[in-house]
Amino acid sequence: MDALLAVVQGLPMTLWLTLAAFAIGIVGAVPLSLALTSPIAPLRWAARLVVDLIRGVPIIVWLFLLKFGIHVGTFKFSPVNAAIVGLGVVSIAYLAEIYRGGIQAVPRGQLEASKALGLSGGTTFFGVVIPQAFRIVSPSIATYLVGLLKDSSIASTIIVSEMVFQSQSFARQHPTVEGILPYVIVGVIYIVLSLPVAFLSRRLDARMRKAIFA
């Protein structure tokens, strides 16, 4: 019971990290995904380089780089801010890649039909492509959110007191068999938290398939 209480104390921080980083990612990925699908080749290459570079480096390295590496004058990141910015930046790259996939998955006939109807480029993109792309990517975004929830546990390595950090400190204070409890509990909490999102993802996926590909 004590173990459960200790772990749950970290729950608000876990949720805060996840949602804050998710918010950064959802918004920040928009311009990056536009660059990824841009007709201007150098812009596309630059965006591809940024995405691959961010995704090619493990999250823990980004967090340490921000937490320990950034020193501008008197400015330093607090652990929580470093975690939010780090997870946010990584989310931007992953979500941009998901958006790109969605934009490119809109059936070609839609573009041809808009052209035949005489729609302008802007109307085609925002009125035809984006609404359909959004439906295509929404299950993947939900899946990514579950991944981000789990990745937020990495913030414990830079001393952010989220759930895994709380589990560790409880385990240190209880060197008996009881010490294994918080790790089991925290694992269960992550799985339970991800269930509703996973369920939502499957529902969205089924609806999307009916609406777009059927």
């Binding site: 691959d52 570079l53 995704r55 090619g56 480096v57 493990p58 823990i60 390295v61 980004w62 340490f64 780089l65 320990f68 590496g69 950034i70 020193h71 789990k150 990745d151 546990s153 990495i154 414990s156 390595t157 895994v164 589990s167 560790q168 385990a171 008996t176 068999v177 010490g179 294994i180 790790y183 089991v184 925290v186 694992g187 992550y190 799985i191 991800s194």
Partner: protein
């Protein structure tokens, strides 16, 4: 440039850390994929007990963060008298992770094999074992290849979490160097480059395979 000179000095220690990282990733992949195949078969098994057991192993391996599994193996199991060295614990945790993720990919691959193949094998009088190992698996694994390569990259990046249980891998080497002279920016940038020079080309190869697969699909 100053940074490059410093990096050159750091490199031997970093490379030995990278070696440990690659070793753990290799163990995770070599042991994880066959286990993943086993799990994917267990999850589809007729027997409820086997199916439930398989499902539990997969869902815990995928649902709990890798860091939690790592702590569970390294700090948790010794409480029951099963103690591991940190590097062994890291290998076990990542093998579990790799097996859980790859089992889902392999299952999807196996299920993508057309039903007619099983029926044809049955009509030809092949045994259940021959049908699986000679007909279904070779075809199913083919479509699982890009996904499995993705898991391999994920595992290589996942080795960085072993830092948290003091495995002397790349991230730990970087941190040790950094705490000697506080050049954290340089050293973690170098660490990031070390990870990126392996992950990024690996990603490109995966994308190439994905494209090739979808061409023949």
């Amino acid at each position: 440039m100053n940074w490059l000179q410093q990096w050159a000095g750091y490199l031997p220690q970093m490379l030995s850390g990278l070696g440990v990282s690659l070793f753990i990733a290799a163990v995770a992949i070599v042991a994880g994929y066959p286990l993943g195949l086993l799990l994917s078969v267990m999850v589809q098994h007729r027997n409820l007990v086997i199916r439930t057991l398989g499902l539990a192993i997969v869902e815990i391996g995928r649902g709990a963060p890798a860091l939690v599994i790592l702590y569970l193996v390294y700090y948790g199991l010794p409480k029951f008298g099963i103690a591991f060295e940190s590097i062994q614990a890291a290998c076990i945790a990542l093998v579990w992770n790799a097996a859980a993720y790859s089992s889902e990919i392999i299952r999807a691959g196996l299920q993508s094999v057309a039903r007619g193949q099983t029926e044809a094998a049955y009509v030809l009088g092949l045994s259940g074992r021959d049908t699986f190992f000679r007909v279904i698996m070779p075809q199913g694994m083919r479509s699982a290849i890009p996904g499995l390569m993705g898991v391999a990259i994920q595992m290589f990046q996942g080795t960085s979490l072993a830092y948290a249980i003091a495995v002397p891998e790349l991230m730990k080497s970087a941190y040790n160097i950094g705490s000697e002279d506080f050049n954290y920016l340089q050293i973690f940038t170098l660490a990031g480059i070390c990870y990126a020079v392996i992950s990024i080309p690996a990603t490109w190869i995966t994308v190439y395979f994905e494209k090739r697969m979808s061409r023949h699909a």
